[in-house]
Symmetry: D4
């Protein structure tokens, strides 16, 4: 029913107010969903398909990944407790790159651009490696330096130096505890910095201290993602690097 | 002792101030409990008997459910860690509809009215299915669409379209993480929407983000229940649908 | 450019990858916005136009309200610090019903259905009256009982009794402090109850105690809105009442 | 060294400023600890010796309890994970009254006075029973009514009625979730009420909702203890009842 | 309509399910409110009438107080911003005892029993004086020692000594900042102690530190009221003292 | 003193352990500060000099700005309460572009690249305009669309469409309340999105809801800055756009 | 009454259990307060008398200060809103050193030892100056460097260099926002560092970010005081410096 | 490339703006890292090497410790879940002093100075013993008194007396629950006091109550470390004692 038809029916009293209202809403929906085909989100946003694995069973995850791999060159599974089993299942048919937090199944794309990844401590490794894996999956080369906390200023400088030499497009800083590495790095580079606060630490607001600190920093070139949000930082950094 | 008798005793000094005060309070209680028979709460509020199972042993739960089933056509057990054992125990004598969060033991009533249930992701399934089970137990037909997060706008539209076509009386939106599905759906329907924030997510305020978001929304037709409060959302939606 | 044309250009190497990706996204947008006319949200959701007045100047608010009144029979201004000035400005041309939290400019609609509104204390009056004003603006008759806190159980019973006698479709409970009135009322009525926690109180979590309490309640027929969210409670209750 | 001696030494320059200051402090300490004998705290405060068992090993707890029982008629062990083993160890030599939260080893005293204990739900049983055990250990008779939540107002009234009839000196209300039982009971009795918020509940501020609610209540005769603080409520109620 | 009549009408099909359910609920309410006369709450709970003045205008407060004074010997107004104006208005007709937090209008009752009130610092004076005023209004003699913080242990001991000499029935400790005075005093007296955390302090959780501290204390004879809740502490202490 | 000299002195026992340690640290500092000339931070990070004005007096701010303008073509003053006075003071000598949150004094640079700025409501204007001003100051063209909240999906689509048509390099989403606009926009663009949560809203966690929501979102291309952190979002977006 | 006398009375049945218990407690108090003379706390702890001025009137503060100055060479008034009036009142009779947060009235003592004070920004000035004033009042020489935030690493190095050259005994770091200056400085000095988080900042946990960050730091030589707690940091640093 | 060379290239247009900016930053880094050799942090800060063991595998920890022991006389491993296995592994080759929270491998240094350590309860033992172990590892003699909570004032006095007699340089107070021991001890000693709040306790803010309390205290000679931060307290106290 078109809007005009609806209008006429109302004027001629052939339709009750309640029914007209319902049809009107319905019509709007119908129109919208007929035309807005749910085109591939991956294609629209230029990011591999991501399966959020945290609450899924192994069977659900394999089924979903298998289906997506029929139409996509690669798929990312994030936060699955079954990363080892996924590797076992897929490794004969696809290249698999896995970490505790993220697994990529399928061929890696060619890379374009580079991103510098600096972590504060070895305890931040799982999130740091998640960044590395995802950067590769999106097609950007990661340049990774681990265990460069603020307690060792010269080791931080070394990492930044190499990053700038190799012309990285963005910097990811992975840090827990008080997270001071992020504003320190930000003050030294003329680039967008993405802070990934980790849940490493103990005591007062143990899991939130780094996030709090990074948000409160006055460094003007620093943005932040959720705690342990390595994937998100990597995707954003990759979008910056690829479009450079 | 009537109030008059009490009054006389006081005036004639036959009773001390302390005792009089105590008797007076007592009297009030006696009167109240004589007349306010504890009529069946289920009958008064039109909702099946609900056993809160979280802290009860299997034995306590079975005993309580059995006793209630003698007088009621059905009983709901919520949040019991023994949902599987309950099914085993009762399935030969009663129809049982169980989920992780809620189990219904006994015949389902005939349905009157419909409620649309939309969830953001497959991780929200336990709460979504809890809504479905409870809606049936109260006598309303659920129309369920899962995994319709805001990342796929057209899939949301499709669900809403079908809900309006089938003339649902209310909408339940089950969503974790940032919970943005609830205000989005609310902006598209001329109906009461009940948001069920779930504890799905990780990082900063992982379990509270959806609740925070739904409360803060400016959507005027959205109310909220407790985190993972599927049962409550289903009961309220059912009361709306049945009385329509 | 159609998808087919785009596909051809890609295959024939006439377009770079970056440009193609951009056009593709653009196309999707173009299609969507050509077809999804932004039909009147008020008509779609059956709620009067609402101007959020909190951060607007008097001039901005008057201009916006005037414009909306040209096409709508009435407009709601919520949380404007200029509620008195708005009344002065519009009262000669329109009926105005104002409170501290919400002002309605324009003719009130005829009512259909009733909603019971109970408040805990006289300090909750501004929010209670906001509910009353909005219910009228949406076209539902409010039945209001104020100052019926849990300290006076019989006064609560009296209010509920009258509500049920007059066949209300839903109950709004407005309460601050520990908010115990909401679960108490919920346990006594076979109806949807909407709790509006207010910011009345002092001391520990003064402004959040009632919200915390209402969310935590085990009353199965109680949903909640934001603190001091009278408007939202009234709109939802009205949608229930009008469709009954 | 007396103060006078110290003064003289300073005046005559026989002692440096730093040393004098140190001796002075030391002197104060010496005097204090010579005269303030650490008389039995139990005797001074009229409460049985309490061993905080949460972080102690079984061996430590047994050793400490055995030693205290040599000088005291009874000892309380609170929050020990070894309550069962303690019972096994001591039951042949002493009467033992144990619950999940508190164990009393030794003869119970004769009782004087009564305290009413009302709990909201059966999930609150461990804390409720802790109150009962401690009241007996301090020498007061508990009058216990469980599962009397606000959803069943008449069952609450029945409990209060019996409490007043038996002339209790104080009321303990044990309640989780939204804790509304405490202000409701407080509004009905002319007695001190001690609210014990429990950690029963789920969702938003699950463990703190009852505490928040009881603190925020405007009931003037209600005080509160820590979450799950049954022991503390029982001790205070007993002190009130015994001195009446 | 009696329950029997209702039952018959249902059996004979003279009444619809919806209407029956509504009448049933209504009936319950009618019965309850007919018999539960709202007897004077003050008389039932033995506490003077209290007007919560925080959100009321001067006019509302005067009107309410005047009305209550017609039937009661005294009335308490708590947290009124108009305490000075109230004094001016009533002082010719009634004795008035006012403080920043609480005003008592009307004759003070004779006292029975004593309560010890100790405050940590002079900044706690408004809450301390509120305790004093309310104790007098309920009919108990206050014994007040101010500025006895834990930094001066001997001054605390002096206050306690006098309290025990005069045989007080309970102790109120008023303290802000870290509130350590409350557990310290509790460890020294064989009496119920009521802690009143005040909002005095600055920095981290400035207003909540004393509350947190008092709740966390392991002193078994200490209960707590809301922040700055002098009135509540005084009422409870008075109930203990008067019934001794 | 060189390290060698220090080493010799130690070996020959000419220096105490304490002094050596102190000199050693000192030496390290001396070296560092001799070589690390504090080169212009603006030059190093490619961002105009920013004066944090919140706690400075007008005089301090003018003095500092004047001094910086001698060596830099432009200076930014953020969060100064004296933005109007600053305009008055400098407008005769420099072009001034001011908003409530940020003022730019000096010639604007030529622009390179574009950034899309979308805000949810008109209440977000001050932060939105701050983004616009800063983007211009860094040399990027802003494309601004205000008042495009999620309640009007088609208006959002229109803004995104224009942004993609004009080939923006990044998107800034400014939103308060539940902040759902940020994940919604993120799901529709193949670009880095920077969410700026604002402090617009009321009720529960009024000022933090948008931040919580944006952090919790599962949109992989969304990073976040501090609440009301328009400046930081603009600087990061500009760095992306300029290097593209 | 001695303990022996009490014991005899009990054995001979001349005293009731209640009375004996009361006398016993009393006795303990009497003994304690007779012997523990409240010697001057300032003398015992080696710190000037401090008047907490926040909630005191000007009159109360002057009276108290005047009285203390009769017996002490100097007195500190902290957080008085009347610091200017205090200066006016006392400046003719005493030297006065005042800041917004702390005022010292009386002759300054000779200094012994030095403390390095570094602040992050000029907004931290009031707290920084409070440290300076108090250090002088306790008799230690402050070495102050302001506006040395982590954004300017070489300016931080310069300050540390001078501190070590002058052989300071401890370092105070005053910083708001993300407070990263404190762990950075701590990693560079072989000295105790005292972090003073300030309330400078905006947005998320604006006032608590620096505190959270400093507590979470893994720097092993860093302790922390309350937010804006300059006085406490200065006293502790002075105690370290004076006893060196 | 020197700055001069860079300058020339720019003036002669031989280098683009982007490249010059990158080289400039690079240059700065190169210079800095060439001169700032990462000299041994342990030597610079006078504290043994500390391995943060919480997230490391046993193998990683052993490898790292072995490597450090080649160049250092001792190494500290903090918070390793493998403290027992570390002991087994190293005990044949090195002296090992281990506790649940900290393990020291290698010869202990000679001690200089003393520190008093007082704990509130036996539940605080793991943190107390951590302090003891670390003090020894840094070369200071610990004087430890455990289980001296505020409930036993005279036992506290005894500990302080002995500390002052033995001329300790600083006091560490380890306390959970309400942490009142810290301000109490601070009021009695003329020394720096370092409070270590522990996570011992239950109920409301169980793990944060002692921290909150210690920060809020008005004791001027008290600083605080993170919850359960025994290592940090011990290092700071040792730095004070060794430099005395």
């Amino acid at each position: 029913m078109t809007f005009d038809e609806l209008f006429d029916q109302i004027q001629q009293g052939k339709i009750s107010k309640e029914e007209a209202q319902r049809h009107f809403s319905l019509d709007w929906m119908e129109t919208a969903s007929r035309y807005i085909l749910d085109v591939n989100r991956g294609m629209r946003t230029n990011i591999p398909e991501i399966i959020y694995g945290e609450y899924k069973t192994l069977e659900q995850t394999i089924e979903l990944a298998t289906k997506l791999l029929e139409e996509h060159p690669r798929v990312v599974v994030s936060r699955s407790p079954f990363y080892k089993e996924l590797n076992e299942h897929f490794k004969n048919d696809f290249p698999v790159l896995w970490s505790v937090n993220a697994t990529v199944i399928g061929e890696m794309p060619a890379t374009k651009g580079k991103v510098l990844v600096i972590s504060a401590g070895s305890a931040d490794h799982p999130v740091t490696y998640e960044c590395e894996v995802i950067l590769k999956a999106v097609g950007v080369e990661p340049l990774v330096f681990e265990d460069r906390g603020i307690a060792h200023p010269t080791r931080v400088l070394e990492a930044i130096k190499q990053g700038i030499e190799q012309d990285v497009a963005a910097v990811i800083v992975v840090a827990g505890m008080e997270g001071a590495l992020a504003p320190f790095v930000s003050s030294l580079v003329p680039l967008p910095v993405i802070g990934v606060p980790t849940s490493v630490g103990y005591g007062f607001r143990a899991k939130e201290a780094a996030l709090t600190s990074m948000l409160a920093s006055c460094a003007p070139n620093l943005t932040v993602v959720n705690i342990d949000g390595g994937l998100r930082a990597a995707v954003v950094a990759a979008l910056i690097a690829k479009n450079r």
